[in-house]
Structures are given as C-alpha cells and as structure tokens.
Symmetry: C2
Subunit: 190 residues, 2 copies
DNA sequence: CGGATCGTTGATCAACTTCAACGGTCGTGG
DNA sequence: CCACGACCGTTGAAGTTGATCAACGATCCG
C-alpha cells in the first residue's frame, strides 16, 4: 500500500526493496462497518494500522454502556497496548466504525520485523512517542475544560470528527451523555 | 549510577563497557525540594529520569491554580514530550516535589546516543510503549470512576503516593479540589 | 514565637446525569 | 420498493456530584 509507504517516509528513510520486505510482515484486511477486531476478555493478539476508514476502542462500564476511549483514522495505529505487549486478556474491545482497510500485525511477527529491520525500532519509538504526546495533551484537556468546551474544542480542531462519527459516539468519547450533547448543540445553535 | 543500569537491564542487554558509554551522554543532577526544571513558556530542552526522589508536571489553569497532571518517581522519565520532540515552548512546568537525584539529556544528545547505541532506540521504544499503555489505562479510569473511586483506587494501588505526596497535590492530580478530598477522607474514616 | 501554608467543615451553587417520552430516519425483509 | 421496527437525536423535569467561598485550627519552619 502506497499510503503506508508515505506514512513511513515521515519517520524513517527506507528504500523500495526494504519497504517490500517490511510490508510482507503485515496482513492486509478489509472490514465492514461495526465488525469486531477484538472483544473484551480476549487475548489482544494484534496491532491495527488504518489505511482508510475508522476504528474505535471501547469498554463496557458498570452500567452496561459502551464507553469509547479512542478513535483511529487514516495513518493511526490502534490496539490495547498494555494487553498486546503482555499477550494477555484485554479490558477493551476494538470495532470498526466504518468500512475500513487495515494492516494487521501480531507480537511475534513484529519482533521478527524488528529483528530484520532495526530501523523499524526507530519508527515504532517515534510512533509511541507521538502517541504518548497526544495522551499527555488529551489528559490536560480533560482536566482543563468543561464538557461544553471539550465539544467546541474537538469540533473546531477535528471537523472530520463531527462529520464522520455518529453523535452518540462523540458524546461517549468526550465523556458525557448523548442527552447533554444535544443540550450543548441546542445552546450553540441559538 | 547502578540504579539506571538495573533499570536498563529490564529492557535491553548491554555490557558494562557500552553502559559506561551510554551513561556518559547523561548529566547527573541534584535538585532540592520545589526546584523548577522547566517553566511554562520556556522551550522544553530536556528529558528527566528520576534516580531517586520525585518530580511533577503541572500547568496553571485559567483560575490561576496549579493543576498537576503527572508524577515521576524512581525509574520514571518525565518531560513535556510534545514540546521536547519539537523543541518548542512548553505548556507545562516541571518541578521537584522532594529532594531528588536525576539524569538529564537534551534532544541533540539523545540523537547522538541513539546513533552510537542503536539498542537505545529499542529501549526508548519500550519506555514510550509502556508510558502510552499507562496513559490508556489512566484515561480509562478517568472515564470509569467517580472522584471518590479514583481516590480509593490510587490510595490502595499506590500507597507510596498517599504517604509521600502532600494532600493538595493528590487532589490536584486526581482532578478535584482539596476540600472535596477532605470530605472523602472524612467519609471513609467513619 | 509568629506568619504562612495546609487540612477541615459547612452552606450554597453550577455542571452534568438520569429517566421518560416523542419524532425522525435509516435499513432490512417481505 | 414500500412498510415497519430499531435506533438515534431531542426535550424537559428532577436528582447527584463535585465546585466555590468563607472561616477556623493545626502544623511547620524560619
């Protein structure tokens, strides 16, 4: 997939031959809307890279409501990092939001990839560094902003977010109820 | 410092000679209580590794109150990852909570280190992966638990936390007011 | 010993949730 | 291709959680 090559080029330099080899470690996969890739309680065997489409990670809270904690769109990785690293049962589920094309790799294969192409160690270091940096800022936002401000922030910062994602998932991701989101939208409209 | 070698050994294999070389890229630094290492608005030049003691990261919210978002104790790294990676002004401050001994490295030196010791690329990949994994779980807790549950969780999970850290910093870190923490503690006492 | 900082208590207030009910729309089977 | 059911967004009333403000006591440190 060229889109993955373009993505890699942002972080490391890799020639076409090596790139082909790197790519051979991944499985490409098509998923339709609302397809499960990982279900809470299963061992988290793989990491997923979104070529196009959108995935989400969620858990079910004590009230039985799905709580979305993360979205992954084009050029983002998603997995339960903690459970993946240790190959243990996951506390999260991962599901497609839209019809999507993704790359899949499991831990064992990733280790082989890293052994054969040490430059990928650098790539993943940078990816995790970037992911951690966004977590840092996300946590800051959660501390700093009211729910209303969070909504305004995300809808101006990530307009695709509001357009592509159904409203009840947006509310869930931002940490409040669909009803309250309705109220905010009504208020902003007037 | 042997404590850093012990820490490295958990992630990579490195002989004594290479370790000496690796160590030479870091600066060792003693800081007393409440000393600033980074002040909001300054360029974030360094990463800090805590050999012993405790550092914290915080920002000042619109009400002028310091909001602590992260603590680092023994064997943890701390920096504003986003600002460090880009060598731009930071939105956070970093300060010691106690008298501490730390290792310091700046971006340029880190790049030299990574070039000379590619195995450190793997080390930092694993460190960031682990850091991201804790963020994932932390965000989940923030979504899942009430403030009271958060306090109970952290005080049972991380007892050192309650003992070493003053109460107003605990409240700040958990995202509520010192007054409310008092109330929770009173309730739990009875 | 004295001042500043920290923890506590209680009253009032704002943000957000919960629950119930309704209308619109989307997609699926007949 | 239409009709029906399920799901989604909206509205409003009542209820909770946690914030704010002010005042006081304790403790720590110079």
């Amino acid at each position: 997939m060229d889109t993955f090559k373009t993505h890699l080029d942002k972080f490391i330099t890799i020639n076409d031959e090596d790139y082909s080899s790197v790519l051979s470690f991944f499985q490409i996969m098509e998923v339709k809307k609302k397809q499960n890739l990982l279900v809470e309680g299963e061992v988290c065997k793989s990491m997923y890279f979104v070529l196009n489409g959108c995935l989400r990670k969620f858990f079910v809270n004590e009230k039985g409501v799905e709580q979305t904690t993360e979205f992954a769109i084009e050029n983002w990785w998603i997995t339960d990092t903690f459970a993946f690293e240790r190959q243990i049962k996951s506390d999260f589920s991962i599901q497609s939001v839209e019809r999507s094309t993704i790359l899949v790799i499991d831990l064992e294969t990733q280790e082989l990839l890293l052994k054969k192409h040490p430059v990928m160690e650098r790539y993943f270091r940078m990816i995790y560094q970037r992911a951690y940096a966004s977590s840092e800022r996300r946590i800051r936002y959660l501390y700093e902003m009211s729910r209303e401000e969070l909504y305004i922030h995300f809808s101006t910062q990530y307009p695709w977010f509001i357009q592509r994602i159904p409203q009840y998932l947006i509310a869930s991701f931002l940490g409040f109820t669909p009803e309250y989101l309705s109220e905010i939208r009504a208020k902003l409209r007037s």
